[in-house]
């Protein structure tokens, strides 16, 4: 096969390229330039591109850089900003997979005559003779990235390879070392790639402040309606958040959690942990890896990259949890599994917490 490997400049995609090459595929590497602004690896992530190029040189494969900055801005950054402006907490990495890596990048690869794309994600794809695909958790449970891939659909997965998904991270690093790849000891990437962690304009607030108007707001106790504190920016509050809802969390000394973010009224509703519990996650933008499962099917839901799974039942417009669990912030992804297999996903709809509370008696 002719495979285009998305090389981020990290160790996983480096080894992914090496593995495919060793398996006899015709491999070409490409690094996506997604973000034109400042980042932790320099302007346009130059350092990462150089790392990827060095690995490609070492492996003796062709390497290209694709500029997808406008698409990234449009499909990832702008929705991220708009989501926060509306009081949601989007997951840009998920949207990048959905719209860039497994859409624009994949499409380009196919136009250029490649048969498939590969990335360094820790996940597995199983294929059967009939062209059906199953997306499974990576062999290394600590590093499993099936969650951020849960938005992919059959046509995308049919053309996608995750060569390191069957390996553990230490195995990946050992292999990189054995092959003399310069990325062998490179730290894992963290956080949102376009939000710098250091310097001026760093952090989520530093990133959002020039792009969206941030409003100070009241913190209101949900059960009593009493104003118990203030926040600098309601747009930066995430449902489930505990810190920064001062003064001192709450006057009573009990732990207070953000239950709902109401940007229009510049209000954050807070309550105790029990008030955060919901019996349902309302979901929109639902996707299925394969055929849609029937309502009533029991699945495991996971609502963060490495979060724990909970039993739930598929229902119209969401999932019903078998046991109450903390609300998930609107904008976040809920991935659905059956066993180790990813079956689909959905984005938590707005007013998740409130809907959950009011819906809970009805179950």
């Amino acid at each position: 096969m002719r495979v285009l490997v998305a090389m981020s400049g990290g160790v996983d995609s480096s080894v992914a390229a090496a593995l495919l090459q060793a398996q006899g595929h015709e491999v070409v590497g490409a690094t996506m330039k997604l973000w034109g602004g400042r980042s932790d690896s320099g302007c346009c992530s130059v350092a990462d591109v150089l790392d990827a190029r060095r690995v490609a040189d070492r492996l003796g494969i062709e390497h290209h850089t694709f500029s997808l900055t406008e698409a990234f801005e449009e499909s990832v950054v702008a929705p991220y900003v708009a989501g926060h402006a509306a009081g949601r907490t989007p997951n840009p990495c998920v949207e990048c997979n959905r719209h860039l890596k497994f859409d624009r990048f994949l499409e380009r690869a196919l136009r250029l005559g490649f048969d498939a794309v590969a990335t360094g994600h820790h996940a597995r794809v199983e294929r059967d003779a009939g062209g059906q695909v199953r997306l499974l958790r990576g062999a290394d449970r600590q590093k499993d990235q099936s969650y951020v891939l849960a938005v992919l659909e059959r046509a995308q997965l049919q053309r996608s390879l995750f060569p390191v998904g069957t390996m553990t991270k230490p195995e990946v690093r050992r292999m990189a070392e054995r092959l003399g790849l310069s990325t062998a000891a490179k730290p894992d990437s963290q956080d949102v790639c376009f939000v710098a962690r250091h310097g001026e304009g760093s952090g989520r607030k530093g990133f959002l402040a020039p792009r969206v108007e941030l409003h100070p707001g009241r913190v209101v106790e949900a059960s009593t309606g009493a104003v118990v504190g203030q926040v600098d920016a309601v747009e930066l509050v995430t449902v489930g958040q505990r810190r920064g809802l001062g003064p001192n969390g709450a006057a009573s000394g009990a732990r207070r959690y953000a239950l709902e973010v109401d940007v229009a009224n510049r209000t954050v509703l807070v309550g105790g942990e029990e008030e955060l519990l919901v019996r349902r996650h309302p979901l929109e933008q639902r996707t299925w890896v394969g055929d849609a499962l029937a309502l009533g099917t029991e699945v495991l839901v996971q609502s963060s990259a490495h979060g724990q799974t909970r039993r739930a039942v598929l229902e119209e417009g969401g999932v019903r949890l078998l046991d109450p669990a903390r609300a998930v912030a609107p904008g976040q992804l809920v991935a659905c599994y059956v066993g180790d297999q990813v079956v689909g996903s959905g984005i938590v709809a707005a007013q998740g917490a409130a809907a959950g509370i009011s819906a809970s008696p009805a179950g």
């Binding site: 690094t31 330039k33 034109g36 320099g42 302007c43 346009c44 992530s45 130059v46 591109v49 190029r53 290209h64 850089t65 694709f66 500029s67 900055t69 406008e70 380009r108 196919l110 136009r111 250029l112 005559g113």
Partner: protein
């Protein structure tokens, strides 16, 4: 036959220039500042090359400052003049980044461009006033290949910004136009050797008498280049530049005629092969080697990658440190949307381009466009 159609990026060295520089990389390695015979020979070679290039640029040998290339010459002109004279810097929006970036660094006013790819003279006039210390407008645009209205620029500059020095980045002009005549009205003129068959890493800034007195050097050290550019001379590069400049200028009329015919054949072939092909700037306003075209509906990045596999070298004209192609700032200044700008390809022919290369490139572009169309359908 591989086709090299990226001559605006760099040109192959003239064999005569390679030959001329070799002795100065071997036996004739001496430092021209020395007091011994070998140094004097190196000094004489540098001076001879200086005379040759100065004659072709229409300046006195003493008005020519060797630099490490076009970028350094532009930086010395913009920042050196600004530091000496103060005032506002005015540059056009379609300048090369070697002018734009130093301009931006000192808060330059940016004069916009016309949709045809030339500096908008009305906007330029608006940007000029008595407080302006430097005006910089290029001779030939590095991406779309348009010749700029330099006479009008000089006239406007002298009338509306009487205090200002006028700088012209003529890096892309030298292979095609008589820079001495074209830039006669400018105080400062930049050129780069590797655009006309010389080596990389060498260029020059013309600083006419009064202008040289108004430049603050960007690097300090020895007294080379009248103290305006400290550092031991790149003797071999300078010698090769003199030879290449001489050859390019002498052969220019014949080169322009021959290459323009090849370019017309190539571009007409592209227009015929793919109906959505257009020329962003009018052909008659561009230099002979410029075959800048837009293939609507095609991502230039993809086209170039596929052409590379067919051994056709071309470019988008813009690049970023990561090696990715950003939408051209020139096309954006001409009023293009970023998505459309991503469909533009800069093919650039040079003195060495052969009819065979053009034929190969033409059939390769046809084949690749057909393949892309099939994959998109």
């Amino acid at each position: 036959m591989p086709a090299y159609l990226d001559n605006a990026a760099t040109t192959p060295m003239r064999p005569e220039a390679v030959e001329a520089m070799l002795p100065f990389l071997t036996d004739g390695f001496a430092n021209p500042s020395g007091l011994h015979g070998a140094s004097r020979r190196a000094r004489r070679a540098v001076d001879a090359a200086r005379e040759a290039l100065a004659a072709r640029l229409g300046c006195e040998p003493g008005e020519l400052i060797w630099t490490s290339g076009g970028t350094e010459a532009d930086n010395l002109a913009v920042l050196g003049a600004h530091e000496a004279l103060g005032g506002t810097v005015v540059v056009s929006a379609i300048e090369h980044r070697a002018v734009l970036r130093p301009g931006e660094a000192v808060g330059a006013r940016i004069a916009g461009a016309t949709p045809e790819g030339t500096v908008d003279l009305d906007l330029l006039a608006e940007a000029l006033d008595e407080g302006v210390g430097l005006v910089s407008v290029m001779a030939v645009n590095s991406e779309v290949g348009t010749v700029q209205p330099l006479e009008e620029v000089v006239r406007l500059g002298r009338r509306l910004a009487p205090r200002a020095l006028l700088h012209c980045d003529a890096v892309q002009a030298y292979p095609w136009l008589d820079v001495a005549a074209l830039c006669a009205g400018f105080d400062l003129v930049s050129v780069s050797a590797h655009k006309f068959g010389g080596p990389k890493g060498i260029g020059a800034l013309v600083a006419r008498g009064h202008a040289a007195a108004s430049l603050v050097p960007r690097q300090l050290g020895g007294e080379q280049e009248r103290g305006l550019r400290a550092g031991t001379e790149n003797v071999a590069g300078i010698v090769a530049t003199g030879v290449a400049a001489e050859l390019a200028a002498r052969e220019r009329p014949e080169t322009v005629e021959r290459v323009a015919a090849l370019r017309d054949r190539f571009v007409d072939g592209l227009l015929a092969a793919y109906p959505q092909t257009s020329e962003p700037a009018p052909r008659e306003a561009r230099v002979a080697g410029s075959a800048h075209v837009c293939f609507s509906g095609v991502e230039a990045e993809e086209l170039l990658l596929m052409l590379d596999r067919e051994e056709v070298a071309a470019s988008t004209g813009s690049a970023c440190a990561s090696g990715a192609r950003d939408p051209s700032h020139v096309l954006l200044a001409m009023g293009w949307a970023p998505s459309r700008a991503r469909s533009a390809v800069r093919f650039s022919l040079g003195a060495s381009t052969s009819p065979g290369e053009v034929d190969h490139a033409l059939s390769a572009v046809r084949a690749v466009l057909a393949r892309l169309a099939a994959a998109t359908a």
